[in-house]
């Protein structure tokens, strides 16, 4: 960010690459402030929190509020920069820079007062024209508005090795500012919500400290410009999630869940480390994300290298973003406090993987050759995840677990979207999902807060009577999740389905390829979502209130004397809910598909794409955008609604009736068909056992390593390596003592003992000769004399 680093960068990579600038609005150049503020608040809370009137909560809230303000400001700053950044200015600026490069002082002035913002060589991309064309391809008639997006960068040296300097920095572009807003907004709501939810907790202060630390780490991850910095933030958020999942570590299950989360992520991190290392060397020893992307797109990095690297990175995505086979930690992570689940395990941290793919999209785009193909690992994993996780969500009785699996499934949507090249759609879904999923979690928390349990079947039911606000917001968020028009989820999910480009048969949608399989998976997932969410709604808010007063259901949340009838939560809980449901209702409107509305509102369409996709930036591939088709929208909605309808029929009609028959004293729901039909039961158990993945990990891999393997290794250590050493010692001692054996029976025994007891009585043996028994000395004396005499007589 300083002039020197700027010059160094120029020296290192030759002329600055297009697609970014070191100038730009002040707030964007100094984005490091955003993670810095909560980091400071973390320290303050950690060291002084307990002494503060509100136990540190106020510091956390204040800092996050400040961050939110900054985030909004930087969004608007970005909008302005995005639209009115002119390459020409940059040419002059860079010209000036190069002219005055010798006289650094002048430049100092320039950079400091920020007038030399646009520093960029006028190396116009040859492919720029095509880029424009491609960008226009999606939205007809807006080509005039398309204006290349230019990221704002700032950087400083972090460390050096082999004479090379490696940077830490900020890379601010559309996806960054969008993410900044999401993170800080959700984080603020969670902070507020928590003041009520975990009030009076034993470690209230630590809770807020870690919330702040998490916010800081997440923001750092969002703005990081170098892969190593990215890894750092990536690990930090992991640790925060570890600490917050294990917040109530008195019970072993919680700490187990925390460990599981951390270790699973570590497994994925192998992929992260290796992948980043490969890219580091492939791009000529640099951690610079922009440079890596650019080189990947220019074909300066071999395709196989990119393929390997992106596959390694996928491992990291699968663990962090809970993709199938490595997703198992996410449901367990619900052991943490509910606001944490909302913030970390629904809205922000778990999408870090998605964010990384979006960041390194050049690598993935080339490496997995997303363009013009019909299937690739990324899309496949995403699709499998969204379907399988959706199935798993059916058999959960814990409302948070259902939501967790639903999160996994939605993450599957995003990954799949990135896999099929629908970059904007993925981020758009990330955007909307953050709001309504957070809303769902907080709503679930609000319910649990009043019934002190998460078990829908045992302790809930009929809650709509007791907590109307929670009920309404929950339903709105559910509709958004299921993707009912016009809620937020509808737009984003529909855009993903469009992006698959699989809808070819009915008036094709020009995507990046024809991922028909993904399209089917997506639609299927929609119906699954509808079904299990309906189940949740029924079990939670309808039917009879099944709560009997037992509060031992991991309801650590309970702090106050619980009264027996549940009641609506206080404003600090409901207001965030209302806000979130508002976003769940409206957030979709920020990216209305083209041609959906007309007239003077037309400029309102595709705002998200316009502002947040780095169109025609050299570090970003020229992805095509599919044209939305009403037929697809209608069809997918129909399927989704069908799922809702079936579930509605089963629960609201059949089960409800049976429940009525069973009468008032009902604490357990009647059994479903899964207990009767054998084949269904088999499937049911398979789901209940979570595809036996946990058994595999816990009982075989983990237990195996910790148990037999480790013990075997240690056995080798003690009985082979160590034993050899001891044997060497013994034999040496033996040879040493062998001399005595011709003298004296005692010493022979001694030697035997010595050799036998090297470990216990090393060296102590010789002392046995020195017993202090006069007569023994006499014996030795005479013996010696005899020997001497003998020698004198016989030998001499």
């Amino acid at each position: 960010m300083s002039l020197s680093s700027l010059l160094l960068f120029a020296a290192e990579t030759g002329p600055a690459l297009p697609g970014y600038t070191f100038g730009g609005p002040w707030i964007l150049r100094n984005a490091w402030l955003l993670p810095f503020i909560p980091a400071m608040s973390f320290l303050v809370i950690l060291f002084f929190g307990k002494r503060l009137p509100y136990k540190g909560a106020e510091i956390g809230i204040a800092s996050v509020a400040a961050v939110l303000a900054l985030a909004i400001i930087s969004n608007f700053a970005w909008f302005d920069h995005r639209d009115h950044y002119e390459a020409a200015e940059a040419e002059d600026a860079i010209g000036a820079l190069l002219n005055e490069a010798e006289s650094g002082a002048a430049l100092q002035v320039l950079v400091v007062d920020g007038t030399a913002e646009e520093i960029r060589l006028a190396t116009e991309e040859p492919a720029a024209g095509e880029l424009f064309a491609a960008a226009e391809g999606g939205d007809d008639g807006h080509s005039s508005e398309i204006h290349p997006s230019t990221a704002v960068r700032a950087e400083a040296t972090w460390f050096q090795s082999g004479g090379k300097e490696f940077k830490v920095g900020t890379l601010i572009d559309g996806q960054a500012v969008m993410m900044l807003f999401v993170v800080s907004f959700i984080s603020l709501l969670v902070h507020v919500y928590s003041t009520d939810y975990v009030a009076g907790d034993r470690r209230y202060t630590h809770y807020y400290a870690f919330l702040s630390l998490f916010t800081a780490s997440m923001l750092l991850l969002v703005i990081s410009a170098s892969t190593i910095q990215f890894i750092t933030a990536w690990e930090l958020v992991g640790v925060c999630s570890f600490a917050l999942i294990g917040h109530w570590w008195e019970e072993k299950p919680n700490s187990d869940a925390a460990l599981k989360a951390f270790l699973t992520n570590r497994v994925g991190d192998i992929g992260l480390l290796v992948g980043m290392i490969i890219l580091f060397f492939a791009a000529g020893q640099t951690f610079d994300i922009v440079k890596i992307n650019t080189m990947a797109l220019n074909g300066e990095i071999g395709h196989n290298t990119l393929l390997v690297a992106s596959l390694c990175l996928m491992g990291a995505v699968m663990s962090k973003s809970g993709q199938f086979v490595l997703h198992t930690w996410l449901p367990d992570a619900m052991a943490g406090p509910t606001p944490v689940s909302a913030l970390i395990h629904a809205a922000t941290m778990v999408v870090a993987g998605v964010y990384m793919i979006a960041r390194l999209y050049g690598v993935f785009y080339e490496g997995l050759s997303i363009k013009d193909s019909s299937v690739n690992p990324l899309a496949l994993v995403g699709m499998i995840t969204l379907v399988f996780a959706g199935l798993l969500a059916f058999v959960q009785d814990d409302i948070k677990k259902v939501l967790a699996y639903s999160t996994v499934s939605q993450l599957g949507y995003m990954v799949m979207a990135l896999g099929v090249g629908a970059w904007t759609a993925a981020l758009f879904h990330l955007f909307t999902h953050a709001f309504f999923k957070a809303g769902l979690f907080l709503g679930a928390g609000s319910v649990a807060h009043s019934v002190h349990s998460f078990d829908m079947k045992k302790d809930m039911g009929g809650m709509r009577k007791f907590m109307p606000t929670t009920y309404k917001t929950f339903v709105i968020c559910t509709l958004a999740l299921v993707g009912i028009f016009p809620f937020a989820g509808f737009w984003s999910k529909d855009e993903i389905l469009v992006g698959t480009g699989g809808w070819g048969l009915f008036g094709g949608t020009g995507g990046n390829g024809s991922y028909t399989l993904m399209l089917i998976g997506g639609i299927l997932g929609a119906s699954l979502t509808g079904a299990y969410m309906t189940r949740v709604i029924y079990l939670t808010f309808f039917g009879e209130f099944r709560h009997v007063a037992h509060d031992d259901h991991g309801a650590h949340d309970s702090h106050d004397a619980h009264d027996h009838l549940p009641h609506e939560s206080g404003p600090r809980i409901t207001i965030p809910l209302i806000l979130l449901s508002g976003f769940a209702l409206l957030a979709g409107l920020v990216n209305l598909p083209p041609g959906f509305i007309t007239g003077n509102l037309e400029s309102w369409q595709e705002r998200f794409l316009h502002f947040y996709e780095p169109v025609s930036a050299a570090y970003f591939p020229s992805v095509a955008h599919g044209t939305p088709s009403y037929s697809l929208a209608v069809f997918s909605s129909a399927i989704g609604i069908a799922g809702v309808a079936m579930a509605y029929f089963y629960y609201f009609v059949l089960v409800d009736r049976k429940a009525k028959q069973l009468g008032e004293s009902l604490t357990e729901l009647p059994n479903g068909p899964t207990t009767k039909v054998g084949f269904l039961r088999a499937g049911h158990t398979l789901l209940v056992e979570k595809y036996y993945l946990d058994h595999l990990y816990t009982d075989f891999i983990a237990a195996g390593t910790k148990g037999p393997i480790a013990r075997a290794v240690y056995w080798v250590n003690q009985n082979v390596l160590d034993a050899t050493i001891d044997a060497v010692g013994r034999t040496s001692v033996k040879t040493g003592t062998a001399v005595y054996t011709h003298f004296d029976q005692k010493v022979v025994d001694g030697a035997v003992n010595v050799t036998g007891l090297v470990s216990s009585e090393t060296g102590g043996e010789l002392r046995k000769l020195q017993t202090g028994k006069i007569q023994q000395y006499a014996a030795y004396l005479f013996a010696g004399a005899t020997v001497l005499a003998g020698v004198l007589i016989f030998v001499i």
Partner: protein, 202 residues
């Protein structure tokens, strides 16, 4: 050696024969007694066996024609030292009856050392003085002829001619070996006082 002995006997000198038989009797007695001293479990018996050994030693002195030494042996040892030992036994209440465990655990070693020592000595002696015969009864020799031992100076010779070794010993002690004698007497005195000092009750 045995052969030499028989040779002497066959020469028909009765005195020698009688002397030899008597000597052997005493020697064997001594050895047996000595062995009993170091093996018996009863300390008082041990003391009495010791008396036998000491008496035997006195007899040996007589065989060697050293009557004065023999007399002193009997007086000092049997008269004084053994009594002293018996006193010691009483004072330390070492039980008069049989003691269990009069020996420590290194009998084997002791026997080994003793036998080896004896073997070495025996070899050396037999090797060195195979058949050396002691001179005849020295007193007679001294009377009839000049002493074979020219190492003796005149006055000793004169004394010797008196026909008794006691006088010679007395002269030797009080003329030539007066200093050691004084030293010994001082030593005795010191020992006396020392013994009293050590042994006296506080």
């Amino acid at each position: 050696m045995i052969a030499a002995l028989f040779a002497q006997i066959s020469t028909g000198d009765d005195l020698y024969v009688a002397q030899n038989i008597f000597w052997w009797f005493i020697a064997i007695l001594m050895v047996i007694a000595a062995i009993k001293v170091v093996t018996t479990d009863n300390i008082v018996h041990a003391a009495l066996y010791l008396v036998i050994v000491l008496a035997g030693v006195a007899a040996q002195f007589i065989f060697l024609g050293a009557e004065f030494a023999a007399a002193t042996q009997v007086l000092v040892y049997i008269g004084a030292i053994v009594v002293l030992l018996l006193f010691g036994i009483m004072l330390t209440r070492g039980s008069l009856g049989d003691e269990e465990l009069t020996d420590n655990e290194q009998r084997g070693m002791g026997a080994l050392v003793g036998l080896m020592l004896f073997a070495v000595m025996a070899f050396a002696l037999v090797d060195g003085f195979e058949d050396v015969v002691l001179p005849e009864d020295t007193r007679n020799l001294v009377e009839v002829q000049a002493p074979i031992d020219t190492t003796l100076d005149d006055d000793t010779f004169i004394n010797v001619t008196r026909g008794s070794d006691t006088a010679a010993i007395g002269d030797a002690i009080f003329e030539k070996y007066i200093v050691p004698f004084e030293a010994v007497s001082v030593l005795l005195l010191a020992a006396l006082i020392g013994a009293i000092v050590i042994a006296r009750k506080e």
